[in-house]
C-alpha cells in the first residue's frame, strides 16, 4: 500500500495546521486530502490553533510529522514557535515541515531551525508527499 513504509510496515501519522490568524484553508485542506490518499493518517488541527496547541496535539496524538502552512507571512514567528513547544514537551523528534509564501531568505532561516520543506505555491503534491515520507523515516529511525 502506498504510504506504508515497507521497511517499517508503519503508517505515517501527520498533523496539518495553520498556527496563526489565517483562515485561508484551501491549501491545507488540499494537502490533508492528498496525504490521506497517499495512505497517511491525517489529523487536522482546525482553525487558528496557537503554536502551543499544535505542539500539544502533535504530542498527544503521537504524530510523526507536523505540516504547517501560512499565507500571512507569520511563518518566521509561528513555525519556530511550534518547534520550540515540541522541544519543551520533549518531542523534538517530531518532524516539522513548512509551506506557504516563503521567500528564499526565510527558507534558509527556517531550515537552520530544523523546519524542512518550506514549499511555495505551485509545488506538486507528489514532491510534498515524498518529502514527508523521507522525514517520517528519519523520525522512525530515531525512535528505535
Amino acid at each position: 500500500m502506498e504510504g506504508t513504509n515497507d521497511y517499517m510496515k508503519r503508517k505515517i501519522r501527520i498533523l496539518v495546521a495553520k498556527p496563526a490568524l489565517d483562515g485561508h484553508d484551501r491549501g491545507v485542506l488540499v494537502l490533508a486530502k492528498a496525504f490521506r490518499d497517499a495512505g497517511m493518517e491525517v489529523l487536522y488541527a482546525g482553525l487558528l490553533p496557537t503554536p502551543e496547541t499544535v505542539a500539544r496535539i502533535a504530542v498527544d496524538e503521537d504524530v510523526d510529522v507536523v505540516a504547517l502552512s501560512l499565507h500571512n507571512s507569520a511563518h518566521l514567528s509561528a513555525f519556530p514557535e511550534v518547534k520550540r513547544w515540541l522541544k519543551r514537551l520533549g518531542a523534538s523528534d517530531i518532524q516539522v515541515v513548512g509551506g506557504g509564501i516563503i521567500p528564499p531568505s526565510d527558507k534558509k532561516k527556517l531550515e537552520k531551525l530544523g523546519i524542512t520543506g518550506n514549499f511555495g505555491p505551485g509545488t506538486p503534491l507528489e514532491l510534498v508527499i515524498e518529502h514527508v515520507r523521507k522525514v517520517a523515516k528519519k523520525k522512525w529511525k530515531s525512535d528505535q
Binding site: L21, I101, L127
Partner: protein
C-alpha cells in the same frame, strides 16, 4: 520555494500527452465543439429581455456603461490609522468619492492591537482599529456627508458600523446621511473565509439587528455585501460560487421578512460581490445567470414589487488564486482577461489585482498597472460601447441556462437540509468546496489543467519580485495608543455600557444602540467582542476532511 528542477521533472511526463482531453469548464460541464441555434435560449422576451428589463439577464440598466462606466474601486488599507487617513485624503484630492478601507487580521478577528495573538499582524494586511479613537483618526478631516465608505469587515461589522456612526455624529453628520458599505456577510465566512467570532445563529442575529436598525435609521448604509468572491477563492467552481452566494442572499432576505420588514424596504440595499476568474465564457454566463435567478426569485418567491429589489447589483474582483508567483508578469494578462469577463458580464464596479500579489501585498507600481488595465478596457477597447455584446451567442446563452439549472440543483439540496445555516453546520458546503479544490489540484498535477509557468512552459531559478516586509512600527504605535485610551476613559461608563450590551445580547432586543453606546465610551473592539464571546460562545467548524 520548490526545487525547480524536481518540480519540472515531476510535471513533465503528464504535460506531453494531454492534447486530446475532453473540454470542460470549472463547473465540470462538458463542452461541445461548437454551439448551434437550437442550443441557445429561445424565449427572448421572458428569459433574456433587453437591458434594464426584467429578468435583467443582459444587465440591470437600460444604458449600462453608456450612461456610466463601472466604478474602478481599488481596495487598500495599511499601517496605522494616520497612514490610512493620509491615503484616503490623497485619493479624495484626486477626485475620488468612494473610499475603500481594508482592515488587518486582528481587527477582522475582533482582537485588540495588544492581544497576544495580534503580535506581528497589526497594521499588516490593512489598518488596525482597536477603539473608536482609531476610527476618529482614519476619518479625520474627511467630510462624511460627501463621501461613501466601503469597509471590508465581517464578523465585527456591527461594531465598525457603530464606530462610523459615532464618528459621523461627532463631526456633525447624522447617521441618516452616512453612505457606505460593510461586507458583513457572515455566511460566506463559515463557508469559505473562516473569519467568525460566534456560532452561526448568533452572527445571524447580529446581522438581523444591523438590517433592521439600518433600514430604519441609516437608509444609505449598505449593511451587507453578499460575497461569492471568497467562496470561489476557497476552491469552489463557478456554479458553486453562483449557487452558494445566491443561497446566502436568499437566507438574508428570508430573515428580513421573518423580522417584519417589507421586502422592498430593505432588498434594494442588498448588493453582491463576485469573483471574476480565468475561464472567460463561464464567468460571463455566471454573471448573466445570477441576475436572472435573483430577479425571478425576488419577484416570484419573496414578493418584491419594486424593480430595485429584483436588480442584482454587483462588485467584482479578478481572481487572486489564478495568479502565479512564477513568471509574475503573466498575471497582467490573466487579470486583463478576468477584468474583461466582469465587464462583459455587466459589473457595477471592479477591482483588478496586481501582478505581484502571489508574492505579497502589491507594490505601488503593480497597483498602477492593475488600474491602467481597467482604464484600457474602458477607454481603448470599445468593449463598453455595446451592452451585453455576447448576448445571443449560442454558446453564451446555452451556458447561462446551464449555470442556472445547476444552481437550482444546489438550491434544492441546500433547502433539503433546511437552509444554508444547516448546510454549514453539517459541513456540506465546506466539503463541496474542498472536494472541488482537491479535484482541481489533481488536474493540475496530472497536466489535464495547464497553468503557464507552473506546470507548463516553466523556467528555472526564478527569483522573488516582491517580498512582504515585516514592520512592527504600526504595532508599537497602536499598542501605545490603546494604553493611553484605557487610562483616559471613564472606566465606569465603559463597564456600564458593556453590561447593558450583555443584557441585550442575552435577550432578543436590537443590539445596535447598545453597540453604539459602548464604542462611544471607548470600550475597545476586543472588550465588545468578548461580551459576545461570553454570551454566545465560540464556534468550531464541523469536520471537513
Amino acid at each position: 520555494m520548490p526545487d525547480k528542477k524536481s518540480q519540472s521533472r515531476a510535471y513533465r511526463p503528464q504535460i506531453e500527452n494531454t492534447t486530446t482531453r475532453e473540454k470542460t469548464n470549472s463547473s465540470e460541464m462538458k463542452l461541445k465543439d461548437f454551439y448551434l441555434p437550437e442550443d441557445a435560449e429561445e424565449n427572448y422576451a421572458s428569459r433574456i429581455a433587453d437591458p434594464g428589463v426584467y429578468p435583467y439577464t443582459r444587465g440591470i440598466h437600460k444604458d449600462m456603461y453608456k450612461g456610466k462606466l463601472w466604478t474602478m474601486r481599488m481596495f487598500s488599507g495599511f499601517g496605522t490609522p494616520e497612514d490610512t487617513n493620509g491615503r484616503l485624503k490623497l485619493l479624495l484630492s484626486h477626485g475620488e468619492t468612494g473610499l475603500s478601507v481594508a482592515f488587518d487580521m486582528p481587527t477582522l478577528y475582533g482582537l485588540d492591537a495588544n492581544s497576544e495573538r495580534a503580535h506581528g499582524e497589526v497594521g499588516k494586511c490593512g489598518v488596525n482599529v482597536s477603539s473608536l479613537k482609531d476610527m476618529e483618526i482614519i476619518f479625520k478631516g474627511i467630510p462624511l456627508d460627501q463621501v461613501s465608505t466601503s469597509m471590508t469587515i465581517n464578523a465585527p461589522a456591527n461594531i465598525l458600523t457603530a464606530m462610523y456612526a459615532a464618528v459621523g455624529e461627532k463631526g456633525g453628520t447624522p447617521k441618516r446621511n452616512l453612505a457606505g458599505t460593510v461586507q458583513a456577510d457572515i455566511l460566506k465566512e463559515y463557508i469559505a473565509q473562516k473569519e467568525w467570532l460566534y456560532p452561526p445563529e448568533a452572527h445571524m442575529r447580529i446581522i438581523r439587528d444591523m438590517m433592521v436598525y439600518c433600514t430604519n435609521h441609516m437608509p444609505k448604509w449598505n449593511y451587507i455585501s453578499i460575497s461569492g468572491y471568497h467562496i470561489r477563492e476557497a476552491g469552489a467552481s463557478a456554479v458553486q460560487e453562483l449557487a452558494f452566494t445566491l443561497a446566502d442572499g436568499f437566507e438574508y432576505v428570508k430573515m428580513g421578512i421573518a423580522n417584519g420588514l417589507n421586502v422592498d424596504s430593505f432588498a434594494p440595499r442588498l448588493s453582491f460581490f463576485f469573483n471574476s476568474s480565468i475561464n472567460f465564457f463561464e464567468e460571463v454566463a455566471k454573471f448573466r445567470a445570477a441576475r436572472r435567478i435573483w430577479a425571478r426569485e425576488m419577484k416570484e418567491t419573496y414578493g418584491a414589487k419594486n424593480d430595485r429589489s429584483m436588480k442584482l447589483r454587483f462588485h467584482s474582483q479578478t481572481s487572486g488564486y489564478s495568479l502565479t508567483w512564477q513568471q509574475p508578469l503573466n498575471n497582467i494578462v490573466r487579470t486583463t482577461v478576468e477584468g474583461m469577463a466582469a465587464v462583459l458580464g455587466g459589473t457595477q464596479s471592479l477591482h483588478t489585482n496586481s501582478y505581484d500579489e502571489a508574492w505579497a501585498l502589491p507594490s505601488e507600481k503593480a497597483v498602477e498597472v492593475a488600474l491602467r488595465t481597467q482604464q484600457i478596457l474602458a477607454y481603448e477597447t470599445g468593449i463598453p460601447d455595446v451592452i451585453d455584446p455576447l448576448g445571443g451567442s449560442y454558446y453564451i446563452e446555452n451556458l447561462t441556462d446551464r449555470m442556472e439549472e445547476e444552481a437550482y440543483k444546489y438550491f434544492k439540496t441546500i433547502n433539503g437540509m433546511g437552509g444554508v445555516v444547516n448546510a454549514i453546520k453539517n459541513g456540506y458546503l465546506q466539503r463541496e468546496i474542498a472536494a472541488t479544490a482537491y479535484a482541481y489540484q489533481r488536474k493540475v498535477e496530472s497536466g489535464e489543467m495547464k497553468i503557464v509557468g507552473v506546470n507548463a512552459f516553466t523556467k528555472e531559478n526564478e527569483q522573488p519580485i516582491n517580498v512582504l516586509k515585516i514592520d512592527l512600527k504600526a504595532e508599537k504605535i497602536q499598542r501605545k495608543r490603546l494604553q493611553e485610551i484605557k487610562l483616559k476613559r471613564n472606566d465606569n461608563a465603559v463597564q456600564k455600557s458593556l453590561e447593558r450590551l450583555r443584557e441585550v445580547y442575552s435577550g432578543d432586543e436590537n443590539s445596535m444602540e447598545r453597540i453604539i453606546e459602548a464604542v462611544k465610551s471607548y470600550a475597545t473592539l476586543e472588550e465588545i467582542t468578548n461580551i459576545g464571546r461570553e454570551v454566545f460562545g465560540g464556534w468550531k467548524e464541523p469536520t471537513i476532511i
